[in-house]
Subunit: 396 residues, 2 copies
């Protein structure tokens, strides 16, 4: 058989597979949104980030009830999210009528608040949302780079100075969110973005081919103290996704290759379960036994984040290895006829599987999984990978 | 065959089984202690409660190196446990040289501190240990019954007023610890013991045959608000064990039967996994899906606590049902030829199995499992069931 013809047939087959996945991804988005619209839509107190992002990104979701609910949610947040105004600390959970139930001593609730306000401004053009976003952002930067005292966690003399990757990672995603189509804020936060990227990259230990989720300050004798809560897996592929965006914006080809290598391929290969498939929840960078009881479970969001990261990587580089890894994760996630994340009966996904892939929690929403966990502040970003499914378009 | 002879043979067989278990329990204690003596003995900073309890309870552990290490641990705690003296809040974790790493906003570190100091006094007769125990106990009572502000957890308007059973349960165990062979303290804490027992009993919902681990204040319309973090399993059997001690001390037969019914049999039957055996870690009182990812795992300490509780119940009542339940848990725990808690190769127990009984964490010690997790303050009480193995003595 003619070799050229064979290559052409392969390409045609690949093209068909790509089209099938693109279609499936679109259907999946519709079905998940339909589930939440049916069971969790709140006309009164709304849901902000997700509805705004849907409204402005997809023609089919450009619907007035989404916009109204998003605005209602925005007003709810403005009124109730802060625990002790004019202080900026936000609650992690509120009652339906706006009383604080739980406050975390971290920056994350405030980051999601900022994202929600910025999205709302992008959709409505109303300046008070954007002012709120920028003021909160400045407060977060102050907590991270100058003085964390306002977060309420006492400094203890025995605690090693550490930097979890989550902090610069989250800030970098805020830089992307606020800077999108906004030259002024892009410039305002340019130095911050570089700082975040620099901090994230420090988690890679040169020469060791290891990525430490929680980086310890260099000690006198050892360059790293490997404690029990070091994690290589978990959100690492999400960090890779934000770093890819950053490298792309910078036009830094070398950095992009480094990110693909260290933040996508490295954690994927160490985190993929060779026996049962899927990504472990926690792993120890030094292959010690994690202390988290749920370390070997398979969770919905690392898989979502992995699919986004690999699609982005493929979209930017055209590297077929990354597309193959997308397929690998997607096949694990969507595989029919076996209990995986997707619920063919009632829609949406189960969030938590055991190592073998069996559903352990039958709930669709919970403290860390919902369309509106934090009254709209929770980004659900990882479900929004349809934009990146453009990478699945057949090559021209 | 003569029926009397048959009954006699049965009794003889039962007697043999009891002897086998009694011997096995003793061997198990020796083997576990040998493991920790080899791998975790700290001549310098010691280990308090466990060493003291061993020293004074067992002839074969009445050894000077245990006493010396216990005293060293006591001095370490006296010097470093408090985070900000003269304040009484204690650290949950300290570095080896005594700097605080972690502080919990609960009473439990202080309770274990109190137990350690009281044991040390019982062994050494040195009054300053006992003074320390009683002063800390008074502070704990103040936090629980008068003002929790000193624990450092902010009161939020949206948080439902709740009472986890762990608080009166822990206090009741302190009442037992401090009152043992001590008439003065028995009298001092008699009212507190009654209060604890009363609070614990309120977790049983009359007519519902349900035991709520975390009790919510009665609301206007419903007598209980069932929230996500209600637990029926977990430490419930431990609460039963403390309540049995209390009922026995009171000579209250009716209460004892109630405790056996509601705190031993009820949680055991709802918490035992009919498919794979073993006790679940978390369960929801209303049979909803728990939100804890590790809810279906099998942990070492609920099984230890169950064995203690059933042995105590059998010892007090002679009810063969309770002995059978002891056998059922013990057979799950010690079963040979299948991966369970016991490690036949290197000794000690694995702490964490999946639902099917496979070892998930290969560590022998961790943040909540060790001989000296909190520098001696951790009680390891649940390993101390040899005293109750006297229940296994053949009936006269």
């Amino acid at each position: 058989m003619d070799l050229g013809l064979l290559a052409l047939q392969d390409m045609e087959k690949e093209r068909e597979t790509l089209q099938v996945w693109k279609k499936r991804v679109g259907q999946e988005l519709d079905s998940v949104i339909a589930f939440w619209m049916e069971h969790s839509h709140d006309q009164e107190h709304g849901q902000v980030w997700m509805y705004c992002r849907l409204y402005r990104s997809f023609e089919r979701f450009h619907r007035v009830e989404l916009l109204d609910a998003a605005k209602a949610g925005g007003e709810f947040l403005l009124r109730y999210a802060r625990v002790a105004p004019p202080g900026k600390k936000c609650a992690f959970v509120l009652t339906r009528d706006g009383r604080p139930v739980k406050v975390q001593r971290t920056i994350f609730s405030e980051c999601f608040y900022t994202m929600a306000m910025n999205e709302l401004w992008k959709v409505t053009g109303e300046m008070h949302y954007q002012n709120e976003a920028v003021e909160m952002m400045d407060q977060i930067i102050h907590w991270v780079r100058e003085d964390p005292a306002g977060l309420g966690r006492p400094q203890l003399s025995g605690t090693l100075a550490t930097e979890p990757m989550a902090v610069p990672m989250m800030l970098l995603s805020l830089v992307e969110q606020l800077g999108e189509d906004d030259e002024e804020l892009t410039n305002k936060y340019a130095e911050l973005g570089d700082w975040c990227a620099h901090r994230i990259l420090q988690h890679i230990q040169a020469g060791m081919d290891k990525l430490y989720w929680r980086m310890y300050q260099r000690m006198a004798k050892s360059s790293l103290v490997a404690l029990e809560d070091i994690r290589t897996q978990c959100h690492t592929l999400e960090a890779g996704w934000f770093m890819l965006q950053y490298a792309l914006r910078k036009g830094d080809h070398k950095l992009r290759m480094h990110v693909i290598d260290k933040f996508l391929l490295l954690p994927f290969h160490s985190g993929w379960d060779p026996e049962h498939g899927g990504l472990f929840y926690f792993q120890d960078a030094d292959d010690l036994c994690p202390t988290q009881l749920e370390w070997n479970m398979k969770l919905w969001w690392p898989h979502s984040e992995a699919m986004i990261a690999f699609l982005m990587g493929y979209s930017d580089s055209g590297d077929p290895t990354l597309l193959d890894l997308f397929y690998q994760v997607a096949e694990y996630t969507f595989r029919q006829g076996f209990s995986r994340f997707r619920d063919p009966e009632y829609g949406e996904w189960f969030g938590y599987l055991n190592q073998e892939g069996k559903v352990v929690l039958t709930i669709k929403g919970g403290p860390f999984k919902a369309a509106s966990t934090c009254r709209g502040a929770w980004p659900c970003a990882s479900r929004f990978w349809e934009p990146y499914s453009n990478a699945l378009d057949p090559p021209p």
